[in-house]
């Protein structure tokens, strides 16, 4: 087990290195792309461009530029935005992280609860109208673009139905930190949570239903039935538990992807100042260092998350552990 963890962690470091190299190359070595032009503004003189190149170290060879960039990102943490020299990239990401976590964790609680509920209901009511009805709802859920759903939610809760008893509690778009006012934090995030979770409720409910139907003719399920256990007990204790293995591994990866930047569209639509919103704001100015840093942050988070899922799995299920 120890050897497995060490091997997985070494693999993780190697992957992280290659991710950082690839990201750096995309941003600073794509042929024809010259960040100094963008820094120098419109119609710069040749000398200005050269001076800027020197100041930002853009005239050095690529490996050195890569090393400098990583040093400024991880060691001295003083990488500044190209557009706004006062914006330090690393602190900006650190302060945006709690917002993204608040959004994703809340949505995850909702989607786990409701997808298990829907999946179980669909299996229990298999053969009646309820099953196809629930699955059509799930399909519609996974077919909606999240930013559009968010806009429709805004249209109803901020404007059309805002003055009715239904949505008069919805605060204006924005964010209140949990430490400042937990109740306002909750109110501000409730609609974004629901919006973000719709897609995943649909997806997970479909996966869970398919999985439960697949295993219902397995030998251990028949044994459990033959023992005379109640159908409810068989479903919850025997079938659901097995299905949750797939569920948990999907969950780990999706959670990683969302925290690593997948929640971008939801953050933009609801004006939540998380990491995704930071990426979006720097997109508008094509601010390369900030975008590179957020992309790197996202890829790192996802990779670390999937390594953790692997290790956790090997602990839980000895079959996965290589000898």
């Amino acid at each position: 087990m120890g050897a497995f963890i060490i091997r997985r962690l070494i693999g993780l470091v190697v992957v992280l290195f290659f991710i950082s190299v690839l990201t750096f190359l995309i941003f600073f070595a794509t042929p024809g792309v010259d960040p100094s032009r963008q820094l120098a503004g419109r119609n710069p003189s040749h000398d200005t461009v050269l001076a800027i190149k020197h100041e930002f170290g853009l005239d050095r060879p690529l490996p050195i530029r890569y090393a400098l960039m990583m040093k400024r990102l991880f060691i001295s943490r003083d990488l500044v935005s190209y557009g706004n020299q006062a914006l330090k990239v690393v602190p900006a990401i650190t302060s945006a992280t709690p917002v993204t976590f608040s959004l994703v964790i809340g949505a995850a609680v909702l989607w786990v609860f409701f997808s298990i509920l829907l999946g179980l209901l669909a299996v229990v009511f298999k053969g009646t109208v309820i099953d196809p009805l629930l699955m059509i709802l799930a399909l519609i859920g996974i077919s909606m673009p999240v930013f559009w759903l968010g806009e429709m939610a805004n249209l109803l809760t901020q404007d059309r139905l805002h003055n009715t008893f239904l949505f008069s509690w919805v605060p204006p778009l924005g964010y209140t930190p949990l430490t400042q006012n937990p109740w306002q934090w909750f109110l501000h995030l409730l609609i974004p949570w629901i919006t973000l979770s719709v897609l995943y409720v649909g997806f997970y409910a479909r996966v869970l239903r398919g999985n439960l139907l697949d295993i219902q003719s397995e030998d251990y399920v028949r044994t459990a039935r033959a023992k005379g256990l109640s159908p409810r007990r068989v479903l919850l204790k025997h079938m659901l538990r097995t299905s949750l293995i797939t569920f948990v591994s999907l969950f780990g990866l999706d959670f990683g992807v969302l925290v690593g930047g997948g929640a971008l569209l939801t953050e933009v639509v609801f004006g939540l100042p998380g990491v995704g919103k930071l990426t979006y704001d720097s997109l508008v100015n094509l601010d390369l260092p900030v975008i590179m840093a957020t992309v790197l942050y996202g890829a790192f988070f996802i990779t670390i998350m999937s390594a953790l899922v692997d290790i956790l799995y090997a602990r839980l299920d000895p079959r996965i552990r290589p000898a």
């Binding site: 992957v15 995309i26 077919s143 930013f147 697949d214 971008l264």
Partner: protein
């Protein structure tokens, strides 16, 4: 040596309501076609999808012959005739002071059916033209993505060894990036050059639809590569491949006439679902302003235009969104149908 014995496959898979006699002696493709045709919901969604494609590609006909409006040039000071009266396309705000400007709302006539956007362009005409761009990018990138993934997976799964290691590690690397962020990274870099990129003879114009198409295609390659590579690896071990090798078949013949037909069904099952995914991705990128850009339109671009008019003219955002939902929904249902047709779930034990 073990005694040589022919053992038939112990299980066959039947679709709902099928008997063993129904499938006896039929080729897998014919069977799949039959099953798909009998699935009314899947055929209905296929019809819906074809309808959306047809209507979108008829956009110029609609704009020139029915609406007589321009979908691309701004028309801020223009007028249009509604119920015999000439009205401004962009109207002065109401109230005592007449502050602000509001584009014309839904007229429910051919001209400005769903009103105009902030620049006075006909929303319905733009939705149709936008649908054309969205579908071109969605279908194009899904096809390119599946083609690249299929070629790479065939090479990796057939030659195995270090070829497979290198390709698979590369795919893992792309897989590690969040899809939207990788697409954003690639799009941003291509956009920093206003006049486009020049690589030798290849010139890339940043406003070309090929930019989002290729970006989306590349980003999703690992998602198709992984399952197909697995299929190639297992097909490589099958007896029919060994038989072909013993007949002295060349590598190319093994790949194209022995392995390819057996992994193609995996790609075909994935294709509708990939188009659904790429249509959604294109919409998201355009919504963020890095896919299809003004004055060109796509469904995502129009939703972005509608953001500023959300509370005054919500139809600008609602209509393209509904088009996306219908398209993606029909593709998802079709994808389920194709999967069930090619790979039915119910296993039936036959023979011994």
């Amino acid at each position: 040596m073990a005694e040589f014995a022919y053992e038939p496959e112990p299980e066959v898979r039947l679709a709902a309501g099928e008997q063993i006699q129904d499938i006896a002696g039929k080729s897998p493709w014919r069977l799949a076609g039959r099953r798909l045709l009998r699935n009314r919901i899947a055929i209905g969604s296929l019809v819906l999808f074809v309808l959306i494609v047809a209507v979108s590609f008829a956009a110029p006909l609609y704009a020139h012959h029915l609406a007589h409006t321009d979908a691309f040039n701004s028309n801020v000071s223009g007028t249009t005739v509604v119920n015999g009266k000439r009205v401004d396309v962009i109207q002065q705000g109401s109230g005592k002071l007449g502050l602000g400007e509001t584009p014309i709302g839904a007229t429910w006539h051919w001209n400005y059916l769903f009103g105009a956007d902030a620049q006075g362009r006909d929303v319905m005409a733009r939705v149709l033209y936008g649908g054309r761009a969205s579908l071109e990018i969605g279908i194009g990138s899904a096809l390119i993505c599946c083609a690249i993934a299929l070629v790479l997976a065939m090479i990796a799964g057939f030659f195995r060894g270090w070829t497979d290691s290198i390709l698979s590690r590369l795919m893992d690397l792309i897989w590690a990036f969040p899809v939207y962020l990788l697409a954003i990274a690639l799009a941003t870099v291509l956009l920093t050059k206003e006049n486009g990129l020049q690589w030798g003879p290849i010139h890339v114009d940043p406003s070309s639809l090929w930019v989002p198409t290729m970006i989306i295609a590349v980003v999703y390659v690992p998602y198709v590569y992984r399952p197909v590579r697995g299929q190639v690896l297992s097909a490589r071990e099958k007896e029919y491949v060994e038989a072909a090798i013993s007949q002295g078949a060349s590598n190319l013949r093994l790949m194209f006439s022995e392995i390819l037909p057996n992994v193609l069904s995996t790609v075909i099952v994935l294709l509708p679902l990939m188009i659904a995914t790429t249509v959604l991705t294109e919409a998201a990128l355009s919504f963020l302003g890095i896919g299809v850009k003004d004055p060109k339109a796509s469904w995502g671009t129009i939703i972005n235009d509608g953001q500023g008019l959300l509370y005054t003219r919500p139809l600008v955002a609602i209509v393209p969104g509904i088009m996306i939902v219908l398209t993606v929904l029909s593709l998802n249902v079709l994808g389920d149908g194709v999967r069930d047709a090619l790979d039915p779930r119910a296993k039936v034990r036959v023979g011994k």
